[in-house]
């Protein structure tokens, strides 16, 4: 692992307001993201995964600790310069986006010349490459509203790639993709990582996807980093059982040697059991 691209030291964040809002906060978070690595971020709902993305992209400023990007405190970065380094693929687009695929992808060029009114031909070339990489080039002139969920997701990925970032943050990237595109997406991410040295933070509920793709995993729970390390270290049966509150079995993917997590689903209650009380 080479030099750290992003370093968090003792980072905490509390949302203002009453207790329900505060449970999404973070505290005492210290880890680093090495240049060129793929870091998977996993954890149960409300563990603080979305808050972590917001802190990495300066949508929120930490209430404690500090975040360094390329050794410089995040608060020192102008937003547009930060957007040249870090790109985010959000879970989904707003439902009524009235733009075409190409218009969307070109938005990724904004941070490279925020004062410019129109994109240059160089910007267009980058956008084309990004669309080609994600397979949406034939859809360039289509309105986003006419696309399937998978196509939209790839268009958004193309927009993030058009930022030409060093760090790509993906929030549940495969949520809307069927198996084929999931596979393609993972292949694409691996290729970008290997060929372009792109650093990737993959936030996912899918433990097996994260285990398969990531060099390291970060397990968040209750706003704290429970464990950081190689997938096999983090995906520990006892640890997962305590964090997720359900029984799991971890075995190994024979093809890749990566851990695979299986949920042990509870047996159904015996018929005529405790249900009668609920009905009354």
């Amino acid at each position: 692992m080479s030099a750290a691209l992003v370093e968090l030291s003792d980072v905490g964040f509390r949302y203002p307001g009453p207790a329900p809002a505060r449970r999404f906060g973070l505290s005492g978070l210290s880890f680093s993201i090495g240049a060129g690595e793929i870091l998977g971020v996993i954890g149960p709902n409300s563990a603080g995964k979305t808050t972590l993305i917001r802190l990495l992209t300066r949508v929120l400023d930490p209430t404690d600790g500090r975040v360094l990007v390329e050794g410089v405190a995040l608060s020192e970065w102008p937003r547009w310069r930060l957007a040249q380094r870090i790109a985010v693929v959000p879970q989904e687009l707003p439902p009524a986006m009235p733009f075409t695929v190409e218009e969307l992808v070109l938005m990724g060029r904004y941070p490279h010349a925020p004062r410019r009114f129109f994109e240059t031909s160089a910007d267009r070339a980058v956008a084309r490459e990004s669309m080609e990489a994600t397979g949406v080039l034939p859809l360039a002139a289509q309105p986003l509203g006419a696309l399937s969920g998978g196509e939209r997701q790839r268009a958004v990925l193309a927009r993030a790639l058009a930022q030409r970032p060093r760090l790509l943050v993906l929030d549940e990237p495969t949520a809307h993709l069927d198996l084929r595109y999931q596979a393609e997406c993972v292949g694409l991410l691996r290729r970008l990582n290997r060929d372009e040295g792109l650093t990737i933070v993959l936030v996912s509920h899918d433990l097996n996807l994260a285990a398969e793709v990531s060099d390291r995993l970060l397990l968040l729970a209750g706003g704290r980093a429970v464990r950081v390390g190689a997938p096999a270290e983090v995906l520990d049966e006892a640890l997962l059982a305590s964090v997720y509150g359900c029984a799991v079995v971890v075995d190994e993917n024979v093809a890749t040697g990566r851990p695979v997590v299986h949920v042990v689903y509870p047996e159904p209650l015996p018929k005529g059991g405790g249900n009668t009380e609920v009905r009354s």
């Binding site: 959000p90 707003p94 009524a96 986006m97 009235p98 218009e103 938005m107 925020p114 129109f118």
Partner: protein, 339 residues
């Protein structure tokens, strides 16, 4: 074709349309001048202080200028509010900002006199204060975690509009009956020939408002991704929203101060242009300015000719076009299908 060339082409096409409407507006009117007489005046061959010269140069031309600037300003304000709220039905009159500005202007009209330059600024300042108060109120009432849903935005716009209309009624009921007629006609929206100095003020205010929005058109596109994504792309979303809101409110207030509240221009023009040009604000904002000018100038030319020598309020005509258009949009395009 590069984007610059496409924009130029769009603006040339719309410019030709505007030229045609300006020509029509110059040649028709209740004074019944012959086309030849109008051409004589335009060629500078009319005798000084002749009726023809005064009608063309002191009445028709300034009125054309006011109509064109007001139409352009309203359409751009519409684009601004729509991008800001990410809601294509937002429009100065629909979201109550016009009513707020009208309230401010009525207060200014009744508390001070005159029609000099100082008074012009006073009217605009009061109108702007009213527009900002109304806009901020709608913003606070309508905002939810999911942005500005159509029903919430429309309802809070209606509520704020009703409130300020009521406030105007309170004022007018304190006014002598002889002033009332004038104020009621003003409230319907009217375009009249404005003195050159005031016209210049109007043009400068409109230019400021349009530039505030036009220069941020690219960021407005990015804002359509949602605020969080826009910030992650390097946009200072808070500053952007403040600037667009101020620009659109300034445009609304300036138009209301000079013509009274005129509805629906900011809804119809951007919608038609979106169908023709797409949603890229870098095309939409400049095209809306010219398109708005065409629409309102056309409406005003109708208003001053169909019942000549009496006149209709131009706001009546835009509302006759706008209200059915609004219903059509609600019933077809946005039937429960918007954020």
């Amino acid at each position: 074709m590069t984007a610059e060339a496409r924009l130029a082409r769009v603006l040339i096409a719309l410019g030709l349309g505007l030229t045609a409407v300006v020509a029509a507006a110059l040649f028709v009117g209740s004074a019944g001048l012959t086309p030849g007489a109008v051409i004589e005046v335009l060629a500078g061959r009319a005798t000084a202080d002749s009726t023809e010269r005064v009608v063309v140069l002191s009445l028709r031309l300034p009125r054309i200028a006011v109509a064109a600037i007001a139409g352009g300003a309203l359409a751009v304000a519409g684009v601004g509010f729509q991008a800001l709220t990410r809601n294509p039905l937002a429009e100065p009159s629909v979201i109550g900002v016009s009513s707020g500005a009208a309230f401010g202007v009525v207060v200014a009209q009744l508390t001070g006199g005159g029609a000099g330059l100082g008074d012009t600024f006073r009217l605009v300042a009061f109108g702007l204060a009213g527009a900002l108060v109304a806009g901020i109120t709608v913003y606070l009432v309508a905002t939810t975690q999911a942005g500005f849903p159509v029903p919430t935005l429309l309802l809070s716009g209606v509520i704020v509009g009703v409130f300020f209309s009521a406030a105007i009624t309170v004022i007018t009921s304190l006014v002598d009956i002889n002033r009332l007629g004038g104020i009621i006609h003003w409230l319907l929206g009217n375009i009249g020939p404005v003195a050159p100095a005031s016209l210049l003020v109007f043009a400068v205010l409109a230019a400021i408002g349009v530039l505030l929005i036009l220069l941020r058109a690219r960021e407005l596109n990015v804002l359509a991704l949602g605020e969080e994504s826009a910030v992650q792309l390097g946009v200072d979303a808070e500053r952007l929203k403040r600037q667009i809101f101020f620009g659109a409110a300034l445009l609304t207030a300036a138009v209301v101060a000079f013509t009274g509240p005129i509805g629906f221009v900011g809804l119809i023009v951007p919608h038609v242009l979106r169908m023709l040009l797409g949603s890229d604000n870098r095309f939409l904002v400049p095209a809306a300015f010219v398109g708005g000018a065409i629409f309102l100038l056309g409406a005003d030319t109708l208003a001053r000719n169909i019942v000549a020598p009496a006149e209709l309020s131009v706001g009546v005509i835009t509302s006759f076009c706008g209200a059915p258009f609004f219903v059509y949009l609600l019933r077809t395009r946005y039937r429960g299908g918007l954020p």
